[in-house]
Subunit: 151 residues, 2 copies
DNA sequence: TTTAGACCGCTATATTCTAGCATTCAGAGC
DNA sequence: GCTCTGAATGCTAGAATATAGCGGTCTAAA
């Protein structure tokens, strides 16, 4: 359960994003495609201004809005996630499903693993219900040490 | 369970922070005290630059580091929390206990409720264990609609 | 082929936070 | 009390992150 886009195969993710765009009538323009590629290639969290620097090498006119607009598109359509605690962006390994992201972030190696923990979601729902609160989106980012860095 | 510092009584929180400082040998300087007061009075999430503006009225020399250093002190000692998704700061309703913050954030009225949901923490621990991940800190921020705004 | 809306180029600027260094202050040890 | 050390603050500058706004261009649908 816990997988990175990298492990999942960037080409597979790419194909599934393209499929989703066709189905939902979304325009995966060259710019958006390139930003998504950069995030997939990174295999981990990327900062907006690093993306901008990368873009600039092939796209002289790139400016902050260039990147942020592409990121907005990818975020809105759940093709990537934003790591709120890091101001960074990561690819999403199952772009078909609409979901909130839950992440394990290693403080030693910065590796990020997206998880899907129904118990956690249940806990959120239960706690929210006790407060009469109707949840729409949850942000879960857990810091710690990953398996590799423990060994 | 689920309480805001405001409901809990700002003076009570204040007293408990003062007690904690005495016990741990921390210096609750006038500046830090004032920043804490401002956050308590706000009764909800406050932005650093709003604190700065408030400070400036009584403290002409206040600059960004003035606020951020006070916030750092308060955060380190768990007297306040930072809402990662909002770049905002909220008071902590039980400063004695060391804990990670879990928050319900209303998208209509911006009210923030700190909760303590063991099931959620259990869910995090279980999911982490499956990955061989050793968690040290969790950030949970749930967006939605609060009871009042549903009515 | 026209046209509305989406997309992009571009400049500027807002917002959030940190670095770095000088000065002042509080408390520990004498 | 006096000195000394580390903590706290004053202050300037600037880094890092993100958005506003406007005009031009492209796309897809009527």
């Amino acid at each position: 359960m816990g997988q990175t886009a990298h492990e999942h195969g960037t080409t597979a993710v790419f194909a599934s994003v393209e499929k989703a765009c066709r189905e939902r009538g979304l325009r995966l323009t060259p710019l958006r495609r390139q930003v998504l590629e950069l995030i997939l290639q990174a295999g981990g969290p990327v900062k907006a201004y690093d993306l901008l620097d990368s873009l600039k090498t092939s796209h002289h006119s790139a400016a902050p809005p260039t990147v942020y607009r592409a990121l907005d598109f990818l975020l809105e359509n759940h093709f990537i996630h934003r790591l709120e605690t890091r101001n960074a962006y990561v690819s999403c390994f199952h772009p078909e499903a609409s979901h909130s992201g839950q992440f394990l972030i290693c403080e030693q190696c910065d590796q990020v693993t997206e998880i899907n923990a129904p118990e956690m979601t249940q806990g959120v729902l239960k706690a929210a219900a006790e407060q009469g609160f109707k949840p729409s989106k949850e942000v879960v980012e857990v810091y710690g040490t990953c398996r590799k860095c423990i060994e």
